[in-house]
C-alpha cells in the first residue's frame, strides 16, 4: 500500500514552512493554532442549591407559577415532591396530540445544607380531557408511565421545559 500522510500537512511542519517565509522577509501574519484544550463538560445530577429546603421549594413554586404550570396539591407524605403539569406549546397543533407534559420535581438532601433538585419526565396528557394517555394509575390517582411501554421517546420537549424552569430559577435567584 502507498497510503501515507503528507508530511508537509502536519501542523508543526506547516508552521516551520510559513515561519521560513518570514525569514525571507515575506509578509506573513503570525496566526496561533486553535487550542486543543477542551474544557471537559462537567455534568451534575439535577441542580444544586445551598438555600434552605423551604426556600428552595418556594422558589420552585414561584417559578412554576410564573411559567404558567399547574401542580398537584402536595400530600403530607410528599412535601418535598412537586407533581407538575405543563401545557407544552409549539409543535403540530392537533387535538389528538397530547400537549400537557407531566414532570416530577424532587428535592434531595445530599448532606446537611446541601440540597439537590431533580426533574423527571412523567408522561403526557391530552389537553382538557384530564384523561391520561396511559391507562395505568397507581392507588392515589397518580399516573405512572410504564417505562418499558415507551420505545421511542423524544426528551427534547422535556429538556426544553427544564431549561425554561432553570432559567426562571436563575433569574429569580
Amino acid at each position: 500500500s502507498t497510503i501515507a500522510i503528507l508530511p508537509s500537512s502536519l501542523p508543526q511542519i506547516h508552521r516551520a514552512y510559513m515561519m521560513s517565509k518570514i525569514q525571507q522577509n515575506q509578509a506573513v501574519q503570525k496566526v496561533n493554532p486553535i487550542s486543543t484544550k477542551k474544557s471537559k463538560t462537567r455534568w451534575h445530577f439535577g441542580i444544586r442549591s445551598r438555600s434552605y429546603p423551604l426556600d428552595v421549594m418556594g422558589e420552585i413554586y414561584r417559578a412554576l407559577k410564573n411559567l404558567g404550570a399547574e401542580w398537584v396539591k402536595p400530600s403530607e407524605e410528599e412535601l418535598w415532591t412537586i407533581r407538575v403539569r405543563w401545557k407544552y406549546g409549539g409543535g403540530v397543533k392537533s387535538d389528538v396530540e397530547p400537549d400537557l407534559m407531566r414532570m416530577v420535581i424532587q428535592l434531595f438532601q445530599l448532606e446537611p445544607n446541601n440540597y439537590l433538585v431533580d426533574f423527571k419526565f412523567d408522561g403526557w396528557e391530552s389537553n382538557g380531557k384530564g384523561k391520561s394517555d396511559d391507562n395505568t394509575k397507581d392507588d392515589n390517582g397518580q399516573h405512572d408511565v410504564e417505562e418499558d411501554e415507551i420505545s421511542s421517546f423524544s426528551a427534547y420537549p422535556f429538556l426544553h421545559l427544564s431549561t425554561q424552569l432553570i432559567l426562571e430559577l436563575a433569574v429569580n435567584s
Partner: protein, 32 residues
C-alpha cells in the same frame, strides 16, 4: 436530568433515554 454549570449564558441539560435496546444521552444546549 443532568445539567452543566451555566457558562457564557449557555446552559446544557441532558437526559438518558432508552431507544429500543440502545441508550441515547440526549443533550440540549440552549441560551439563557
Amino acid at each position: 436530568l443532568a445539567t452543566t454549570s451555566i457558562k457564557h449564558n449557555t446552559l446544557a441539560v441532558a437526559s438518558v433515554v432508552r431507544y429500543q435496546r440502545k441508550y441515547a444521552t440526549q443533550i440540549l444546549y440552549a441560551p439563557l
